[in-house]
Amino acid sequence: MSIITVRNLRKEFKVSKHHRGMMGTLRNLTTREFTLVKAVDNIDFTIARGELVGYLGPNGAGKSTTIKMLTGLLTPTGGEVVVNGRVPHQQRQLYVQRIGAVFGQRTTLWWDLPVIESLELLRHIYRVPPDRYRQNLHEFTSLLEMESFLNTPVRSLSLGQRMRADICAALLHDPDLLFLDEPTIGLDVVAKERIREFVRHINSARGVTILLTTHDMADVERLCSRVMIIDHGRLLYDGRLQTLQDRFGGKRELVVDFAEPYPEVTVPGATLTHYHDLRATYEFERQTISASELIGLLSTQYRIRDLSVREPDIEGTIRRIYQEGLLTGDA
């Protein structure tokens, strides 16, 4: 059963044209010219309850605009959005009662209040029953290791602490759906990992549906089996991350350590890129030869001490997709 249904969703912005120079300034005063920007251009998708979906795209692709429409902050120019049985921008107050949102770049908490005071206020805002509130607070504060800074004003928190507090704040009222917008932005490796762990936990243990936007491919790799990619306002891809990798991932690499030196180590189907000091590196493509075939071929001819297969990284794949417009043809 789907929790998010989006049909032909569009959002256009009017951006006023500015002319430069003396005459330009006069023209700005006398005429108002607009360019129409299609931030989101006819997108369709559904998300089922309990899914954890990554929503990717370069800056200015239309990601944030989509999220703002899904959360009810923006009114679509056209199309249909139904989330959790409601139309977000029409039934804002009822709708937001059942969702949570974390925007990595800004906080939901009150700047000059201690964290716990903000959480208490949220309890009143969402009318969380006291018992449920205590339970959730207990669970989240221990999982996110928040005890040490519960009484610190939000303005004095480190970025990692603030993010954890924000994530906790977004979940106290047991939302069905959580929007995470760059929840790991600017954090160190350990802090990122802690947040990912937690996100995975609430998705699997509590069944909270999560829509994650991020520029961090490690987030995507660890958390999302399904990704959607948007660029220039159009949904370019919606499917498994692995499929994307299989289709557009760069070449795979096989690194082989031979047991003894061989003058000639080339094999059909793979390109030898390095060979030095008993160690050879081959590049090969999934479509041409599989890793096991390649290993089989090599081991019949040579004595091999050790080997490893390196998958192309997702970061590189996504970068190539954005830069080279690999998906634009088949959207």
Binding site: L73, V96, L121, T141
Partner: protein
């Protein structure tokens, strides 16, 4: 477990049986009150400026009065009272400008407020009530007390009159809030709405009777002024306090205050709905 010890610090509402909405309103008001209480140094500085600014204003009025006993019901004592009251009310009603909502719209902070299941206008009103309460205590009461020491003033003579002043002050805050909220909503239409804001506040000084008691103006100006909500936020408080408004006229005035308050509050709701539809949140 840390949270058990901290829940005891939550502000207790006077009754356990109030509706959750009232409770939420109360929680916001209390926190806003506490927050504004912390700016003590600024409060003292403001107080000193406020005190001397009032003396400057009243000397102009005394010059106008000259050798006459009184003008339009305002003698020396009434003028001092007028000056003290209007000075005391400046921060209570944010007469010199209030741009918090405008700033929240321009910075995009408003997004996180809109994502919470609460009445947006009520939420801002609750915060404003907390702010105004601090202003009334730290500024209003202190200024009135200070001026009473130095000048001959007219004070309410009965409990009923004191009550009428209190009610009138509360209704004035509602009117003032509605006006300020609406003025701030212009931020949704213009990325540089401060100019609109300043214009609005200047207009309000004139028509509210802050520049000079409205009684000093020609009848036609007064007639125009009383078609606007502004005199009901300031001028009438002075007239009730000094005893110029009594009996049926007083009741009528309080009713009109209430009507203006409700009207502006409703208008704020309706305009907000239109405003949110054209919301463009920048960044993020």
């Amino acid at each position: 477990m840390t949270f058990h010890s901290t829940t005891g610090r939550i502000a207790r509402c006077p009754s356990q049986y109030l509706y959750p909405t009232m409770r939420l309103f109360w929680e916001f008001t209390v926190r806003s009150f506490q927050r504004h209480l912390t700016y003590r140094a600024a409060a003292v500085a403001g107080l000193v400026t406020n005190f001397f600014f009032g003396i400057l204003r009243v000397s102009v009025l005394l010059a106008i009065l000259g050798e006459q006993e009184s003008i339009e019901g305002y003698g020396r004592a009434e003028l001092f009272t007028y000056m003290a009251l209007t000075q005391a009310i400046i921060t209570y009603l944010s007469l010199f400008g209030w741009y918090d909502l405008m700033n929240a719209v321009h910075s995009g902070e408003i997004a996180t407020d809109l994502l919470k299941p609460m009445g947006f206008v009520s939420f801002w009103l609750a915060r404003d009530v907390g702010r105004a309460a601090v202003a009334l205590l730290l500024r209003g009461v202190v200024i009135m007390a200070l001026y009473s020491l130095f000048f001959d003033m007219v004070h309410p003579t009965s409990v009923a009159q004191v009550t009428a002043v209190a009610v009138s002050l509360i209704l004035a805050l509602l009117i003032s809030f509605g006006f300020r909220f609406l003025l701030n909503l212009s931020a949704f239409w213009s990325p540089n709405a401060r100019g609109i804001g300043r214009f609005g506040f200047t207009i309000s000084w004139f028509f509210s009777g802050f520049l000079m008691p409205l009684a000093f103006f020609p009848a036609w100006v007064q007639q125009i002024a009383y078609l606007t909500p502004f005199p009901y936020a300031l001028n009438v408080i002075v007239e009730i306090y000094t005893g110029q408004l009594t009996g049926p006229a007083l009741w009528q005035t309080l009713c009109i205050q209430l009507l203006w308050g409700l009207l502006l509050f409703t208008l704020a709701h309706v305009t907000l709905r239109t405003a949110v539809k054209r919301l463009v949140i920048l960044g993020g």
